[in-house]
Subunit: 344 residues, 2 copies
């Protein structure tokens, strides 16, 4: 299986996140990508390619133009205000009874307008890294479009929490949504997204929530108990023409492979029914038992089981990396999925 990756994806290097009322060391860090890349090489998964530049258009098919302009221009404004000594965190959000529009002129207002949390710092080169990560996703999608059975976009920063017009959950551009939309725009009639990250892919779900051409399936920790808390419930099944084309399996904290498998089997059943031309897998490794911020109990072998099961679907598959914060085991767990998929 070919892997796509660019060193530019390392340019987003957050120092902190806000958690528990404190600034804590960031967990979504460049070494996550580096260890996966190292393991891809060590285990000879296949060629490693640089992403092509797909330009702005595929991003605009998924994201709000004002949001993209905000991400691109943010750091320049932040520097111009003399505030570049710190990374930028938002601190106020337009929740109920507050207005998202007009977009404030003040940069702190814009930070809140275009975000959903306080844990996702914007730094000097975040935009470059996020764009490179999206290009990695698009290049992997193109490889599958060109006939490869599968490809691995080693995306980082991740994407599945990013909404049409907000960042959050360590995500800026929704790589999976961008790849799925690109596949739709390049001949695929139906695309399925299976999100196996420990956290619900709220951004991806919302982007396709009213559409029947992109099936969104997600298996994740119950949002009543876990981030992102405000989406990913079992009663969310789509709206309008998209009704029935979103399916969530929120699972209890402590779920192990045995507890996970029935949901995975159901998801694979729906893939069979939907008959997509391509599958995009939002591949988080944070179901791992030693993940520092998560609560499922996958062993490293369980990731091989996951990959083998996905391989059995027989679908052309674009794997895109999402979360997973047990850095030492991240490469092993990730390549376990990909290798087993190829053998499966």
């Amino acid at each position: 299986m070919k892997t796509v990756f660019s060193d530019d994806q390392l340019l987003h290097a957050p120092r902190h996140e806000i958690s528990d009322g404190q600034l804590k060391p960031a967990v979504e860090i460049p070494s996550r990508a580096e260890i996966v890349l190292k393991t891809v090489k060590a285990r000879n998964l296949g060629d490693i390619l640089e992403p092509s530049d797909f330009g702005q258009r595929p991003l605009e098919k998924v994201h709000d133009k004002g949001y993209l302009a905000f991400l691109e221009c943010f750091w320049g404004k932040w520097e111009a205000e003399g505030r570049a000594s710190a990374e930028a965190f938002p601190f106020i959000w337009p929740v109920r009874s507050l207005r998202a529009d007009p977009v404030p002129d003040h940069i702190d207002g814009q930070l809140g307008r275009y975000s959903m949390d306080a844990g996702t710092p914007l730094g000097a080169r975040t935009w470059e890294a996020a764009k490179a990560s999206a290009n990695t996703a698009l290049t992997a999608a193109k490889l599958v479009h060109e006939g490869n059975k599968a490809a691995f976009g080693l995306c980082r920063p991740p994407g599945h929490h990013a909404g049409k017009d907000f960042f959050g959950g360590y995500c800026f551009l929704n790589n999976a949504a961008i790849a799925a939309q690109w596949l739709r725009d390049n001949g695929a009639e139906r695309v399925a997204i299976l999100d196996v990250d420990y956290h619900h892919g709220n951004g991806t779900q919302a982007i396709f929530y009213d559409r029947p051409d992109v099936l969104f399936l997600s298996i994740h920790a119950d949002p009543r108990q876990e981030y992102p808390y405000f989406l990913g419930h079992g009663d969310e099944t789509g709206v309008k023409g998209g009704t029935g084309f979103t399916k969530n399996w929120p699972l209890a904290l402590g779920t192990d492979w045995e507890g996970y498998l029935p949901a995975l089997e159901e998801a694979c059943h729906w893939l069979k029914v939907f008959k997509p031309d391509a599958l995009v897998v939002s591949l988080g490794m944070d179901c791992f038992e030693n993940d520092p911020i998560s609560g499922f109990k996958f062993t490293s072998d369980d990731f091989s089981r996951l990959g083998a099961r996905l391989g059995k679907t027989g679908l052309p598959t674009v794997f895109l990396m999402e979360g997973g914060y047990a850095v030492d085991a991240l490469g092993t767990n990730c390549v376990n999925v990909l290798e087993a998929f190829e053998k499966g």
Copy 2:
């Protein structure tokens, strides 16, 4: 003029706020109330009374019961989770495309569900202090209801950013809304609220936005440039039966008394037209030129001018303290308003 205050209001003693990507020293601190109390005594403004306990009912007339239960029970849960070493900040919010309901079971989800910003820490005794502050507002309202021309509720923590079901902007219970509603429930047919805090009173506005019986007038820094960023624009005039009963005067950063006066005159004009049975003034002192977080240019003498102008309205008036963070001058500026009102 009588002043109402309880030492319980000092029990909320935040250490930090999140601002500029850093934990910075909190600015909404107990000494704010202490210096105002000291100045009230030094200048012999009048008797200082303890608030009466009005119980839960007046709070429930304004706030969501689930929100009140959250505030009351939060710290016990936080301690039970072993997290009481730190004050609590939320870090994710249900913005666009995310669901406010169901309310998450997890305490971090609840923190985000019931808040609007990351700058308002919840501490061990926040609930006691907020309740005491609301009782102070209610007691001041009762004094005016009983025939006093005016009364001063030395509220702290402040209230005007707190919504029906969220805290934020250093506010937990909306003291002005609670007092106005109590006046309505005790014989006043029409109540006006004039908010002269530097920041827009988004919570108060939203609570009465569809009602013609409570006029909401606010003069404040333009939300395009200033906190709370997402409410307080000139085009917000109420909805349904409340249409025409909200009026905002967003002013440019750098506004001084001369620039402020026309808006104040217009607001006083609407007070005359509306003929309220009572006026509640959300009295922030953060229009002061030396306020550390604000951008208007009032001198201490200008606060006397403000008080004198309000005195000319001839309305029974409940003054409730809101913001103002230049602590050394806070007592002087506050009592300048109140003294000049009495003479005016």
